[in-house]
Amino acid sequence: MGEEVKLIGARGSPFNCRVEIALKLKGVEYEFIEEDLANKSPLLLKYNPVHKKIPVLLHNGKPIAESLVILEYVDQTWEGASILPQHPYERAMARFWAKFIDDKCMSALWNACWSKGKEQEKAIEEANELLKLLENELKDKKFFGGDNIGLVDIVADFIAYWVGAIQEVTGAEVLTKEKFPKLFEWAREFINCSIVKEKLPPRDHLTGFFRIKLEAPDTLKYNPQVR
């Protein structure tokens, strides 16, 4: 068919993982180009000059950046399992919660996991408020997307997997079974989906990476080189 799909990314990144899950869901074959974020390549700077961040999807040479934008593009471009729901209202809800996770939850959860003392108490309180909203939104569904994973589940990959890895390293208790039983169960179901499992970075890679971060506290400010 002459279609060329490439993904410039970094395997440890939850933003990158979102796109890989989406491409896998649609059965799209692609070439993965691992980016060294400490030493950004001319390729990345060429295809995402505005943000200089991964992931960047290249479809027949045309770049698309920002993981949420990429997810919508993938959903519209390729047949296969739907990432967004069909009905406009449900689509709006999915977009709202995806934005909520990106705009509010990512940095709040990161801070709750990494901060110490009084600062951490405050950060965990904030994280609790946000996670409570997500727990309520999940209701009795298996996934945010219903019976199958959808946009919000994919965007929440950091919550399902990365948070657990950081907690293991720092001892923080942000997302626990006791505090958020539904979300905890959702996380378990999500990471056990065959498509997701295949695309998640190995757990020990993540904990190894986070252990190094623990030793270098000045790198802990939430400043993702990934979007």
Partner: protein
């Protein structure tokens, strides 16, 4: 026909985010009821309909609530599609670019403008720098085009639109200047053409009203800062 009588928009007459939705609804020719909200004394209605963010605009269609202006724009575009004025382009790549740039404006430009307006010292300077950088990028994007949407305004023009009108008051009340017709000639040209579009021209709050709200914001922030000390 499509339940337009059961369509309400919660907002304020001066709010730039509310106006995105007003313009979209007017372009589509959809009738709605406008409900003015007092943002200083947030009504139970607002808190009930937008418990997560407690902000305007909020669209309520047949009892179903949608929040966040860009999410609302996409909802309006998808719900009133065939036979209606299109907001987003059909082509997936063009759509992706419109979404990308709208996000860019809401983040880099808006956050920079907020810092420039409310902060002092280094944060203020960084905010001003952010706005200038964002403008430079937008200048490149609009070059050679009449509107971001092409020959007619679309989703991205609506998203960027506040810069054509509200931003001058942000600069005036915030006491800084970044907009420059010599430095950003293409953007300046877009600004003028955008404000000439009749739906836009007919749906802008009076300058004094906007100034008043911004002066109010500045005073509130000043008082809050003093209260902290």
């Amino acid at each position: 026909m499509s339940g337009t009588r059961d369509l309400k928009l919660l907002g304020t007459k001066e709010s730039l985010f509310t106006h995105r939705v007003v313009w979209a609804l007017k372009l589509k020719g959809i009738e709605y009821e406008f409900i003015e909200v007092d943002l200083l004394n947030k009504s139970p209605l607002l808190l009930e309909l937008n418990p997560v963010h407690k902000k305007v605009p909020v669209l309520v269609h047949a009892g179903k609530t949608i929040c966040e202006s860009l999410v609302i724009l996409e909802y309006i575009d998808e719900n009133w599609k065939d036979g209606y004025y299109p907001l987003l382009p059909q082509d997936p790549l063009a759509k992706a670019y419109a979404r990308f740039w709208a996000k860019f404006v809401d983040e880099k430009f808006y956050q920079g403008a907020t810092a420039a307006f409310f902060s002092t010292g280094e944060n203020r300077a960084k905010g001003i720098e952010s706005v200038a950088e964002a403008l430079q990028v937008l200048e490149g994007e609009i070059q050679g085009k009449k509107f971001f949407g092409g020959e007619t305004i679309g989703f991205l023009d609506i998203a960027v639109g506040w810069i054509a009108y509200w931003f001058q008051f942000v600069e005036e009340v915030g006491d800084f200047k970044v907009m420059n017709s010599t430095k950003y000639p293409s953007f300046d040209s877009w600004t003028k053409q955008f404000l000439q579009v009749s739906i836009i021209k007919e749906n802008l709050p009076p300058p004094e009203a906007v100034r008043c709200v911004f002066v109010g914001f500045k005073n509130m922030a000043f008082q809050a800062k003093n209260a902290e000390n």
